[in-house]
Assembly symmetry: C2
Homo-oligomer: 200 residues x 2
């Protein structure tokens, strides 16, 4: 398959990259790295990316973040940072991407455990993860008519993030990288659609 991977150099993305390149034609895109550079918060930049990349069998997004902070101090502007980035960045990639993915293809987005199993200071990520999950559940039926599947991988804190941010996730059980990568492979090469693939 011809697959576009957005965020192929992140903690999870680089593991996806190494797995997928074994058997697929993999194109990577990111803010500063990858085969193509673009800005996922800018619809014009996303359109330009797909124009350059051409027809695809799968789109995988393992990119996007949002700010953390104590609930009492969170501002509307901080929410919109997360909205523009992890939420609408991914949604816009899917909305625009649907026109460039062949029938039989798939879209795989990334949310995360915090919409269901929260941590202190994580409310913005809980919110945008919930939004991405809702989008995928909502979009699947209409994408099905176009012959396109869509799923979202919702990982817990992964092994490779424990050293950097594990202290914010007390008692959260680290998820093996291979298990997370398998969820993306299942979404791309499997048959399900409209699924929140929980890996935690």
């Amino acid at each position: 398959m011809r697959i576009l991977l957005v965020g192929g150099t992140g903690t999870i993305g680089k593991k996806i990259y190494w797995r997928l390149q074994e058997k697929h034609e993999l194109i990577s895109a990111g803010t500063k790295s990858g085969d193509y550079q673009f800005d996922m918060t800018d619809v014009g930049s996303i359109k330009e990316l797909f124009k350059q990349v051409g027809k695809l069998d799968a789109l995988v997004v393992a990119a996007g973040g949002g700010p953390m902070g104590p609930l009492e101090q969170l501002t509307e502007e901080q929410f919109y940072e997360g909205i523009r980035n992890k939420m609408m960045g991914q949604i816009n990639l899917a909305l625009i991407g649907q026109k460039h993915i062949q029938s039989g293809g798939s879209i795989t987005l990334t949310s995360g455990i915090l919409s269901e199993d929260p941590i202190a200071m994580g409310t913005i990520l809980s919110t945008v993860n919930g939004a991405v999950n809702g989008f995928v559940v909502g979009a699947a039926g209409e994408l099905f008519r176009q012959g396109i599947r869509i799923n979202v991988v919702s990982p817990g804190i992964v092994e490779d993030s424990i050293e950097a941010i594990g202290t914010y996730f007390p008692g959260h059980h680290p998820v093996a990288m291979d298990k997370v990568v398998n969820a993306y492979v299942k979404s791309i090469e499997g048959v399900r659609t409209g699924e929140i693939i929980r890996v935690f």
Copy 2:
């Protein structure tokens, strides 16, 4: 209790209003009706509302919508309509409201079935409902420290909406209005927090 109800003239809101006014001091606010008029898409207007209303025991929001349309045609701007309204409208009411709610009090927001059981043309609502659910799950732990509970009622299509919009919800079983109103009462007068109270 002294309760602020936002959206007390909507399909669900007016039924909440009639139940709550039996035993509570109820203040209503809305875009065009209620004791106070304000704009839930404007943080300045929300701040002014809470300044005028004063200290509260509970905030209930049964307001907010978003556009519907075929997935292939949805634009970023349509998503932002739903984000500013049902998503960030409610989230901003909660963020600002937390400073005006007494310890022991509660916040109750409204999402809806579409984040879990979708319909055609409903992807924006699936997305913003998922976001509101995620926000409530994420915020509960930190609001608990302030002595404030938070829940979200996620209703299915209600009996009173069947005539107007039932055709968009094929096979969805209409929910009795009393059952939906009970969910709000449980959130306000009960003990749970961080719950998605599903009524479908």
